[in-house]
């Protein structure tokens, strides 16, 4: 191997890692910058809805549960916007699509972890506050029990995985539209609604009730574990779709 080939070999892995880290940092920074506004507004909305419902005598359960409906779409939007904003500067700076993909996946994982953590904290805080006030706390969907570490962990992992899946779905939709154009892109978008639906079902009602309990006769923590496992498998499947769409995405030059 000559000197040039050795130099290239030495910088291949290093520049790949640098690209992955750069993309990952961009995603985490975006989540942090937007999150500074987003989460306080969400928490305020949950409190406001709870107070209003209480005053009207219509308070029936967790209000955090309902305001959190927007969270996955926030993750989805980040998944749409960030890759498309990053791809041109990233390639022009000498990065590869593979590094972009890996960086996005790691960024999506961080997003899931941060979102899952915040959501778990919000549920926990709501339960504790309601308990102090003497209100009866429950959720109409998903795991409903207690303030212990298991519930906290299930909320963290479950919501985190769903956010991760939605982020990657956003990336798949953006790459799909860029690659396939409006009609096929729209068809792909509709198809990608299926894993989104499965993710929601798995988190709130799916394997835990219908599959694990009913069909497989599972009891105890197993249905929840199956539910989280299903989310994990789904996340991998969506990542593979994104890899397929983004892996060799051509980028248009500016017209000269």
């Amino acid at each position: 191997m000559n000197a040039v080939a050795q130099t290239l070999e030495a910088r291949r892995a290093r520049t790949h890692r640098a690209g992955v880290r750069a993309v990952e940092r961009r995603v985490v920074t975006a989540v942090r910058v937007v999150g500074v506004w987003y989460w306080p507004i969400l928490a305020f909305a949950a409190v406001l809805v709870a107070v209003l419902q209480w005053r009207l005598g219509a308070l029936e359960g967790s209000t955090v549960e309902y305001v959190l409906g927007s969270v996955r779409w926030f993750g989805f939007s980040l998944g749409v916007i960030l890759p498309m904003a990053l791809i041109r500067p990233h390639l022009a700076a000498g990065g590869t699509r593979r590094a972009l993909l890996h960086g996005l996946a790691r960024g999506a994982a961080w997003t899931g972890l941060i979102f899952g953590l915040v959501i778990a904290v919000l549920y926990l805080a709501e339960q504790l506050v309601w308990g102090l006030i003497g209100w009866d706390w429950h959720r109409s969907l998903g795991i409903s029990g207690g303030t212990g570490p298991v519930t906290f962990g299930v909320n963290l992992v479950g919501e985190g995985l769903v956010t991760l899946i939605y982020f990657l779905l956003g990336t798949a939709v953006a790459a799909g539209f860029t690659r396939l154009g409006p009609w096929l892109g729209l068809a792909l978008c509709l198809l990608l609604g299926i894993p989104a639906l499965i993710a929601d079902i798995a988190l709130y009602a799916g394997p835990a009730t219908a599959l694990a309990e009913g069909l497989l006769g599972m009891t105890g923590p197993m249905p929840v574990a199956v539910s989280l496992g299903a989310l994990g498998v789904l996340a991998v499947a969506v990542y593979l779709v994104v890899r397929q769409l983004l892996g060799d995405l051509p980028v248009k030059q500016n017209p000269a």
Partner: protein
């Protein structure tokens, strides 16, 4: 890390066809764009360690060629390889090669809604040869406020930011695609001077795609001329310059001397004419011309560019 030598590049029978697609205009309206052949079987070399001028009219395929070198897309047919020391490889998804190729377009590929400093930091992270000191000097030279967002800069300043990225990258293959657009004349000349100084101090391969042939030709050591997706010629700039001759003097004498030769251009002012003809003048003809008060000299690349890319010349 050991520095890489300047990169060369080769296009081998490269064809690029764009499928029918959709595009949005500035108002957000979406239009269908018909499919097109951007490059039609081109073959040429980009010599390592030289400044190559890539010339061609609008839509000739220059940006598509350059995008292939930077692995922005793949050719539909043929191969594109880059590298040093005769070891040329496909740059597609090869981090070692893509990190050695810097493709700068008009306005740059920047984070438009973040501070210029953020974009520069991103390039610094990914580019092994990035020279932060040089970037700071150029930002100062071009008076670019790094705390502003590129979206808030004038077009000229955005172009200057792009030029800064290209020069500070110190990439073994640095490509400037119409990067001067929007720059005012002093800034353009400052850019050309900075480019030459940087090239002398840190030898590398530079490709400069340009419409302003008269202004940039002094920089070129090698020229590739493309038209309608084909390479018309690829040769050393001096060789190209010697393809034509300009005769200036009394109109009657000039006409007599150029009779029967292919005229590329003709200008008259009173009794004086300047005629550009294809080919060189033999020494005896040049002496005869001088005796009749006609000056024989070389021509700029612009005359050749205009002539070779005219519709009539294409036919």
């Amino acid at each position: 890390m050991t520095a890489l030598p300047p990169f060369g590049a080769r296009f081998e029978n490269v064809t690029v066809t764009y499928p029918r697609s959709w595009s949005a205009d500035a108002n957000g309206a979406v239009h269908r764009t018909p499919g097109a052949t951007a490059l039609d079987g081109i073959t040429c070399d980009i010599p390592a360690g030289q400044i190559t001028g890539l010339l061609g009219r609008n839509g000739a395929g220059k940006s598509t060629m350059l995008g292939l070198l930077a692995a922005f897309r793949r050719p539909t047919h043929g191969s594109v390889v880059v590298g040093a020391g005769g070891d040329l490889r496909d740059p597609w998804e090869d981090a070692a090669l893509t990190s050695a190729v810097q493709f700068v377009q008009d306005g740059g590929d920047v984070f438009a809604d973040q501070k210029c400093a953020d974009t520069l930091a991103y390039y610094a992270d990914l580019r092994p040869e990035w020279d932060a000191g040089r970037a700071a000097e150029l930002l100062d030279l071009f008076e670019i406020p790094v705390r502003k967002k590129p979206a808030a800069l004038s077009r000229g300043k955005r172009s200057a930011l792009a030029a800064t990225i290209g020069l500070a990258s110190r990439a073994p293959l640095t490509i400037f695609d119409e990067v001067y657009l929007g720059m005012d004349t002093p800034t353009r000349h400052a850019f050309y001077d900075a480019l030459l100084a940087d090239y002398a101090a840190h030898p590398r391969t530079i490709i400069l795609s340009s419409h302003l042939v008269a202004e940039t030709e002094r920089l070129f050591e090698h020229v590739v001329l493309v038209d309608a997706g084909r390479v018309l010629l690829a040769e050393p700039a001096d060789e190209l310059r010697s393809r034509a001759t300009a005769l200036t003097g009394p109109a009657s004498a000039v006409d007599r001397l150029t009779h029967g030769r292919e005229v590329l251009d003709r200008q008259e002012l009173g009794a004086t004419a300047m005629v550009t003809v294809l080919g060189t003048m033999p020494d005896d003809a040049a002496r005869a011309a001088a005796a009749e008060g006609v000056t024989v000299g070389g021509v700029g690349l612009e005359s050749l560019f205009v002539h070779l890319t005219r519709k009539e010349a294409r036919r």
